[in-house]
């Protein structure tokens, strides 16, 4: 068991500019971070740092009544885990299959957060 609260370790790493995740004893990626190895595997979890590259797996644009919109996506990171995030794409509509890269930026009330941008944009 990790002595630290997984969420706090994750947040501390984000504040240092790192998207952290865990690996089990078979090097399989685990996300979100937790205290117990999932899938019935014995052993422990160790922390690792994502390079931040991935691919959009699913995408949806939320419309607000003021006409603004946000693109929320499920991103498959190259290390083998998936997470929800917002794709900040400067006017382009993101599509499934596009390569993306993490950009840790301040979210305001929730502190630093791992947003994604389309690679090459």
């Amino acid at each position: 068991m990790s002595p630290d609260a997984p969420l706090e370790t994750y947040r501390t790493r984000l504040a240092a500019g790192v998207l952290a995740f865990q690996r089990d004893d078979h090097d399989r990626a685990v996300f979100p971070p937790r205290s117990v190895t999932p899938h019935g595997n014995s052993g422990s979890l160790r922390w690792d740092e994502s390079e931040g590259y991935g691919v959009i797996y699913a995408i949806s644009t939320l419309s607000k009544s003021d006409g603004s919109c946000r693109h929320l996506a499920l991103v498959n990171l190259d290390e083998g885990f998936r997470m929800l995030s917002e794709v900040r794409s400067a006017g382009r509509t993101p599509r499934i299959g596009q390569p993306v890269q993490v950009r840790i930026e301040d979210s305001g009330s929730a502190g630093p957060a791992p947003y994604f941008v389309i690679v090459g944009s």
Binding site: T61, L62, L72, L74, R82, L84, E86, S107, A113
Partner: protein
Amino acid sequence: MTTEDLATAVVGVAESDLGRVTAGTRPVDLMAQATCRALEDCGLGLDDIDGVFAASTAIAMAPLNIAEYLGIRPRYLDGTQVGGSSFVAHLNHARLALMHGACDVALIVYGSTQLSEGRARSAPQEVEPFEVAFGPRYPLLAYSLAASRHMHEYGTTQRQLAEVAVAARTWAQKNPKAWHRGPLTVDDVLESRPVATPLRLLDCCLVTDGGGAVVMTRGDRARDLRRQPAYLLGVAEATSHRHIAQMPDLTRTAAVESGRRAFTMAQLAPSDIDVLGLYDAFTITPILFLEDLGFCDKGEGGSYVEGGRLAFGGDLPMNTNGGGLSYNHPGMYGLLSIIEAVRQLRGECDERQVPGARIALVHANGGVLSSQCTAILGSEPAA
């Protein structure tokens, strides 16, 4: 003992008031109203209830609240809360409790005033700390993401999604209790406001007040009550995740597992089903469940719903009450789907009656495709 004695059955059903109820009505008021109507339906009394199964996003300890309100002291309580599928899970749990004699008369009950009091208060969404910064709007976002993936992998179109909404409306037009009964075309759906691509406003279920209650007993008691029993032939529960980012494959739900186990228990197949209730929280969900329950191949759900196959007069009657899309959706919908299935089996559905319906399937979904529960009900104790 006969097959009938070993069986369990739904013997009483009733909805509470639906749509928009009087301001100040509380969810527990609707639960009590539905309970009394369901008891009247089967001829049992409050004192007969000794098992209570309830769940609500607005009431943390729902079985306790309704027991207190009704002035009863059940010896078996179950507050399983897995979202809108909770009540199909409760059918399973009531079945097991009845079979083992842990209770003799089971009440499954729900009520919500989410329209009258506002959805934010009625159904506060759990905050996931790993996602909160992005402001996801759940449950809507989870289903729009799933729809985006299904369209990407299988070419499912917006028009096919819209067909699900149009089909629901054809049945609602035959149901005097339905919220929306006016005409609806595919173009109407496509022209409605985008809310979370690819879903538009009319791809989404209603937000209404409503509730219901069903009463279950063992078979030996069922045959002595007022109505034709609806026997529980098969039932199963499954889960694959809680958060949409953890769903292994957005196009394949745990209905694959719950359906398979329910059909196996009932010793039936999709071709045996006369009438279907497939939880229509959003137009994508019936498409997913038609595939995952085995009514069509994976990826074929979009074309399967075309041409009015599931509409009034079509080959496969689905959501004959008008569904969550056009009849009523009080936040957790599964109980209403069970009630409609039972009424179809009894022959009580008037203009929307499926002639000769003898086997009904109710499939309910909870959370964000998180919980999948399937029940098969029949007019006879065994298939």
